[in-house]
Every structure is written in C-alpha cells, then in structure tokens.
Symmetry: C2
Subunit: 123 residues, 2 copies
C-alpha cells in the first residue's frame, strides 16, 4: 500500500509562503542562523544582487531536498523572500525588514565570517 494510488495531492508549484520578520520570534531567527548551511546561504545571498540567485545555484554540501528545507526555514524566519521565475525560484535577502526587526543581527552574521576554530595563543 506504500504505493499504488498516490492520490496526487500535489500542492506543488504553490507560491512560496512568506513570513515577515516582524512576525518572527527571536528564538526562531537565532535558530535559523545557527545552522552552518543556512548561514552559508545567507552569506552567499548577501553577496549578490536581489533576485539574482536561484535556489540551486548555492555552494552548499547538501542535496536538493535538504536545500529546499533550508530555504523554507529561512523563509519562516523572515530572512529571505522568494519568487518564481519560470522553472526556477529566485531569492532575495530581506536586509531592511530583518534589520528593522533585529537590529544588528544580520550585520553581525555577515561580518563574522569564521570563528571558534582559529588559533589559540593561550595557555
């Protein structure tokens, strides 16, 4: 029964549901940014123009399914906006709105490139 008739629910090419940063809890925002993959996505997105990058164009070590999930998390955290452009889906970082809701957070994330693994000249 695992197969046979799938019944075709198929809520597929539905327009992406967005959440405004102002409706996002602090915990949600922090959790969204505490994942390395999502952090990479946000940073790459920040280094590009709005609507320039498609979902599949990011250099992250996960497959399509996981990638799609991460984009959904970023949407739910009010961090990105997505739009369908033909067969592709293009993205935009919500700089202004997110900054207004969580002042300094995005800047902090974009500034801090690496940390914690550095040299430790200490005894």
């Amino acid at each position: 029964m695992t197969k046979g008739n799938v019944a075709a629910p198929a809520p597929h090419r539905t327009p992406p549901e967005h959440v405004h940063p102002r409706d996002v809890a602090l915990e949600t925002a922090l959790a969204a940014l505490s994942d390395p993959v999502r952090l990479a996505l946000v940073r790459e997105l920040a280094a590009a123009e709005d609507w320039e990058r498609t979902c599949g164009s990011f250099d992250v070590p996960v497959r399509k399914a996981a990638l799609s999930h991460h984009f959904a998390v970023l949407r739910s955290a009010g961090l990105i906006e997505q739009r369908d452009a033909g067969a592709k889906r293009i993205n935009r970082l919500r700089r202004a709105e997110f900054e207004e809701r969580f002042p300094g957070l995005l800047a902090l994330v974009l500034r801090q490139q690496e940390a914690g693994g550095g040299p430790r000249p200490r005894g």
Copy 2:
C-alpha cells in the same frame, strides 16, 4: 561502554571550565541563545548584579539536571562565568567579553523581550 563499575569517576566539584567568547563560533553563540530556557537564564542574569544569582535561583520550568546542562551550554558559548561559593555556584553574565566578540548580539537579546507569538496591535 566505559561503564560497569567504575570505582570513583566522580569528577564532581571540579571547578567549572570556561570558554572565552573569543573562542566561540558564531553558530555556537546563536544556538545557545536560540533556546527559550537559556534565553530566560541570560535575561534574568542580566537583570541582576554579578555573582548575585545562584544556579538554583532562576525561574525556569526545568529540573536540576536540565538546568545544569543549560548552564554548561551557556559556559561553552562564552556567555556566562561561574564560581563556586560554598555549596552554591554563582553566576555572572559576560557582558563585556561577549559584546566584544559579538557586538550587539547580547544587547539585541536583552532588548527583545517577546516576539512572534504576542498580540499584534497593528493593522
């Protein structure tokens, strides 16, 4: 494994191991602050004087074991410093050091009290 009948492992009243904020990765800091319980701890701690609050004096809905775990996480994230004072353990928020490592983050967390789930008197 590594169990059975250990004679006296008991690394108990060992002095708390601290991690300096400068050795903390951004992901670690964000993950530490993305938990509601830890967020409450940090906020309560921020509202008190240094070394004023003991571990058991916080108003959080978890038992001792979980509480101890959360304090360990906060230590590992460079957010707090602990010191033994008799039978109790007293805490201090590492405001300055953490602020230096992650400018604006602690302030943001302390400023934003609630969000996302609250009433929305707008519209």
